[in-house]
């Protein structure tokens, strides 16, 4: 881009390549779609290029490398640097400066990098690459996808490009544009199997539900524009501008941010706009992984995290605490509700879907608490308060990171299970004759058809085990570090403000519930004896699927190192540099001490209560109900043996009959997702549909009528006009003469 004019705070060598992170996938989108259309079915395209998968892969790799370079640049120059700006104007010319008539107009896209950006940039680009690898193993080996995978890969890279663009954008306007690109892609990908009515309606549902949030987001942005006169981060986060706004219209600002938060609620599937997420499982599994781990749901969290500077502004001290409470409360409700629904799901992917909702709710609660602290404490001057705020914000971001990694892994692992169960079913019932019977009753996603897979798919089972442990927050693994932080902060805030007792209780109960449903899922899938013939014939999976699982297992396990490096501090505030402790060992010791031997008695007890709930009570009940030995003669890897044995022992010793609960009306309600979808349907049919029908009528008659009239009118005009072109030079000369006379008369007449 030659039209680059840098208005940089800090100029960075890699900064100029940052737009490529977004542009490369966007170009790949066009290339894959085009080549796919042209070479569809061609053997080279299908086998060597994997229908575009191997075009997407290097592109996502390049995006990751560029992101990493940008991130390292940012971390290096960390001390004292808040953010990097790079403005790329599309066209720079004085012509845009409207002189006296209009305000100067500039069309440009800027790159904004700060600590939140850096973290999400890594999560998005890293997971997108891994999911791309996984997709090649998953999509290209299923004959049902043949000759249309190019559509998948094209939409996939566009989706990634939307997420990366949203993270890097330098204004809320561009954020919104990329946000909508993601909305579009989620619609397309969830409806990938559009020939199935369920997939088509799920896509529609996801699109419309998030659209409700988007409308509010748009109104919020317009209000923000009205307050600040711009949506650029540089303008709206400017301390002086915030002061000016705070003087007169702090209340309006709170409303604007609140409306924007509704947009985030829609995108991140929080109560009450959560209904689309479980249905979104209709898309292929890589899409679920993409939506749930790498991109879409994180977008809502990112938007809320982006609002942090408002909450942290001195000028708005104490003005925004209501909104902070709402954010935390929405999180609290969703955390418990989603976990409860997850109790009764039989579909492997649906359990994970509800788990996503619940874990995102944790992050929202964490963000709400952090924002409350930032808004009420005097953290700019008091170093203790500053530390509290930073750690609270950082814990939420850290949980985002841990959850993204673990959930990406869980979805890919579940995809691997489904893929193999499906293949085994095919092998058994249809033989290997390549016939396609996707319409039979067998449900490859139901846990009823699994069981005892730990010995058949050791890598997948391990990944699933580590991932579940991370989501549950078992001590030392992945999510533990961040979840403890969120719970502790919720209770810290609850001590200040009794309203927060509600979200604080929710997250604590939610911890136990998470422990239960995640253990239940793992045990039902991998422990015990195979539930049917198909599960007994499942084989190991292919290398494209194994690799990402392998990598993510290590990332999840190594989160203790990240915690030791002070992730919670530098992710939240660049004043704390990367590796703030002298060395990593000190850092780990510090975190350990903080987590397990807190000097404050209240938090000391709270920690152990949380650990008891999430690591002993929840999994214990799950084991009592669903534990069991593997089938005779089946051996699994040594690190899973104790888990299986323990579950079998607990099952034998503590097993109890839960038929009463399963037949209770509560369980039925949970199976029906608390009837929320039905209420929505009723409301839709009674109120919205009636209104819509009227609008549709008006549309066909007035708008379509007008358009049709214009269309037929212009066609007949076109015919009339062209009929004047007779093809005879005599007529043409006549027209010249007529024109000459008219011109002379006009000029003479006017003058």
């Amino acid at each position: 881009m030659s039209g680059a004019e840098a208005t940089t705070t800090v100029h960075s060598e890699w900064m100029q390549y940052a737009p490529l992170i977004i542009l490369l996938p966007m170009i790949a989108f066009a290339v894959i779609l085009f080549l796919g259309r042209v070479f569809n079915g061609h053997p080279f395209w299908k086998n060597t290029l994997k229908e575009g998968g191997l075009i997407a892969l290097p592109v996502m790799g390049a995006s990751l490398i560029l992101s990493l370079l940008l991130i390292s640049e940012f971390l290096k120059g960390n001390s004292g640097v808040d953010d990097i700006f790079e403005k790329i104007a599309w066209i720079n010319t004085g012509l845009w400066d409207g002189g006296s008539t209009t305000e100067s107009v500039s069309f440009g896209f800027g790159i904004y990098v700060d600590h939140v950006t850096v973290m999400l940039l890594f999560v998005a680009s890293f997971l997108c690459l891994l999911i791309n690898v996984f997709s090649i193993g998953y999509m290209n080996t299923d004959p049902i996808n043949d000759n249309r995978n190019h559509r998948f890969y094209a939409e996939f890279v566009l989706f990634c490009s939307g997420m990366l663009g949203m993270v890097l954008a330098d204004s809320f306007l561009w954020l919104f544009i990329f946000w909508e690109i993601m909305g579009l892609c989620s619609y397309l990908l969830i409806g990938f199997y559009y020939e199935r009515p369920s997939a088509a309606s799920a896509a529609k549902k996801a699109f419309l539900t998030t659209r409700i949030g988007d409308v509010f987001l748009m109104i919020g942005l317009v209000m923000l524009w009205d307050l600040f006169g711009s949506l650029d981060y540089a303008v709206v986060f400017d301390t002086q501008n915030i002061e000016a706004v705070a003087e007169n219209s702090a209340g309006t600002l709170q409303w604007a941010l609140g409306l924007m938060f509704i947009g985030a609620v829609g995108k991140s599937a929080q109560f009450p706009l959560h209904v689309w997420l479980p249905d979104a499982m209709e898309g292929p599994t890589p899409v679920s992984a993409l939506i749930h781990a790498a991109t879409m749901v994180n977008a809502g969290l990112y938007l809320v995290a982006r609002m942090f500077p408002f909450f942290g502004a001195e000028a708005l001290h104490g003005d925004l605490d209501d909104l902070a409470f709402i954010i935390a409360a929405v999180g609290g409700i969703t955390a418990v509700m989603a976990a409860a629904i997850a109790f009764v799901q039989m579909d492997l992917k649906k359990v994970l879907a509800y788990s996503t909702m619940s874990q995102l709710a944790y992050i929202f609660t964490g963000l709400g608490c952090a924002m409350y602290l930032a808004n009420t404490l005097d953290w700019h001057n008091d170093s203790d308060a500053h530390y509290i705020v930073v750690v609270a914000f950082g814990a939420s971001l850290f949980h985002l990171f841990n959850h993204a990694m673990a959930k990406g892994m869980l979805f890919m692992a579940s995809g691997s299970v489904i893929h193999e169960v499906h293949h085994a079913h095919h092998h058994l019932h249809h033989g290997d004759h390549g016939d396609d019977h996707h319409d039979d009753d067998f449900d490859a996603q139901s846990m009823e058809n699994m069981g005892g897979l730990a010995s058949k798919m050791p890598i997948t089972a391990t990944a699933m085990l580590i991932g579940s442990a991370s989501i549950m927050g078992l001590p030392f693994i992945g999510g533990f570090w961040s979840k403890e932080g969120i719970i502790a902060n919720a209770w810290r805030v609850a001590q200040d403000d009794p309203r927060f007792l509600f979200p604080a209780m929710c997250v604590l109960i939610g911890a136990a519930m998470t422990g239960f449903y995640m253990s239940r899922m793992w045990l039902k899938t991998f422990a015990g004896k195979p539930n049917n013939e198909v599960a007994a014939h499942v084989g190991p999976t292919n290398i494209w699927i194994k690799t990402p699982l392998f990598i993510l297992t290590f990332v999840t396990l190594s989160s203790v190192l990240l915690a030791g490096m002070g992730f919670t501090h530098w992710a939240a505030d660049t004043e704390y540099s990367f590796l703030s402790e002298k060395n990593i060992l000190d850092g780990i010791l510090y975190e350990m001490e903080h987590a397990f031997a807190n000097s404050d008695a209240f938090f000391f007890i709270l920690t152990y209560v949380a650990i008891f709930l999430s690591a002993i009570l929840g999994p214990g009940i799950a084991m009592a109900l669903y534990g069991g030995k593997l089938a005779d003669g089946e051996v699994t890897k040594p690190w899973m043996r104790p888990v299986v044995r323990l579950s079998a022992w607990v099952n034998k010793r503590f097993h109890f009959d839960n038929t009463a609960f399963r037949e209770s009306s509560l369980a039925t309600a949970l199976e029906n997702r608390l009837y929320i979808d039905e209420y929505y349907d009723k409301a839709m049919i009674n109120i919205v549909a009636g209104f819509s029908n009227k609008v549709a009528e008006a549309d066909t008659e007035v708008i379509d009528g007008t358009i049709k009239a214009i269309e037929s009118g212009s066609q007949s005009l076109s015919t009339a006009v062209r009929s004047l072109t007779t093809g005879s030079a005599r007529d043409y000369i006549l027209m010249v003469a007529v024109g000459t006379l008219t011109i002379s008369l006009l000029i003479w007449g006017v003058a």
Binding site: M1, S2, G3, F34, L35, R37, V38, W90, I91, N92, T93, G94, L95, G98, G99, S100, T101, T102, S714, Q715, L717, S718, T719, V721, R722, L724, T725, G727, A729, D731, Y732, I733, M735, V736, V738, G739, T740, I743, S744, L746, I747, W748, V750, A751
Partner: protein
Amino acid sequence: MSNVSRVEPFGDGFITALCPELMLFAGMLLLILVPNLGKGTFRIPGTQIRLPWLLGGTRFKFSSDPRLPAWIASLTLGGAFLSVLYIFNQGLERVVIVSESGKELLLINGFSRIFELIFFGALALAAFSSMNRLQVKGIGSKVSEHELYNNRRQADFYILMVTCALGMSVVALAQDLFVLFIGLELASFSTYVLVAFLKESKVGVESGMKYFIVGSVASGVGLYGLSMLYLWAGSLQFSVLAATFAVSGTTALPLIGIGFVLVGFGFKVSAAPFHFAAPDAYAGAISPVAGVLATASKAMGMLGLVRMLLIVAAPESSDGSAVWLVCLGAMAAITMTWGNLAALGSDNPKRMLAYSSVAHAGYMLAALTAVGAWNWDAAVAGDASAAAVAVMTALIFHLVVLVAFKLGAFLVLSILESEGGASRLSSLGGLAKREPLLAVAMFIFMISLAGVPPMAGFLSKLLVIMGIVRIAVGDMGAEIADGGIYVLGDMHWVWWLALLMVINSAISVFYYLRVVVVMFFDEPEQGREGPLPGGWQVRVAILACVLTTVLVGVAGDSLIRLCEMAAQSLNYNW
């Protein structure tokens, strides 16, 4: 006129000043000589001694190569193009060529040079890409050399291209009605013959004839107008004419003269109602020539209009707006609407492009009208002058980028044409399957013509519309800034032209995208399933067009600055 150096013909600095034009002249001589080189000898009378003098006789292998004239012509035109670019790069010097009696003949400044850039660029691309086009019997994927016209016939074609360029550049440089007319006719006659060049085909001859007859009538009327201006002012000099017009411009003689001149150039830009011969000519001519008509020839017409309307009959002369304002505004409105409506129902892609180029002429006339809305002399107008420069910049920019995507579209059609015709929309069918990259190129040209970002066509259209609106708002800006209230009626009426442009652009999207739909979603016609005819030259030319279209659209700053400079240098009171 302080920093303009005056040079007499063949005086000091003449060659450096007119380097590109002299290159064309040299190229023309080469085109005549080189294909005739042979083993001819000359016998000294009365002796048996034969001296080889290289002309005539059995020709050498290289001089009988049918592609030789095309190479010479494209190198000449390309060289001229590059030398103009080099001149821009070196920093332009304003030079005026004066006759012995002190009359200004030719003026070299940013404005004339940027138009030469358009002419030479378009003609070089056309010459280069028609290298394999001129064959006797045309169907088949491979063009062997004996299928091409022999190179004497080829030389005729390319000599005409070079003379066309020479004539156009004379129009660009002219400072005198006589020189202007000479250049105009040199270029026009070349195009008449180029259109009718395929004398074996009935269509080619018929369309050439029609184009010639209607063109002659328009030229005749224009010449009559020029002579009226001479009769009235007693001078052929633009500067004298302008000065006289400012004093007594509103009398009948100059007004009718200007009106007649408008007819002459109106035919060149194919403005309604003088455009009727254009679609016939475009459809009958081979596609690269049609592309030249739609770009270079049109630019020449616009150039003439700018010179005559903005310099001779400048708005300054009457109170505020120009005398020709209503007339040109009506012409612009009719032209763009007519072009788009006719294109809407047209099934022949070449006719469709012809009508689309009529519509584009309408857009450009609208821009020109807007400039005439206010007195734009920098000394008098101040702020309005900036707006006028903005519109002129947009106009020039539009003409420059039009070369890329309009000519590019014709070149794509030219490949189909050498396969056996491109006279039906369905002959584009399945292009995406037959040669995907070509279809992508055509797609880019189409969306650029329709004005879709980020292509160059979008930028040019946006600049034109913004410029017109700025002029229409005029001095109300200050009022708005002060919180004053204004209504639509307060704006100058040229605002409606901008609105009409937007509506017309919306209509035009339909027929541009129809081409895309046919290319990507329809099956090839019967008998056209195979690969397209070869020829790397035309593909290279198309690639150049695609790159220009995209790059200028994404990062067109430097080109806009160049155009801005040209627009500023037009303001005669430099």
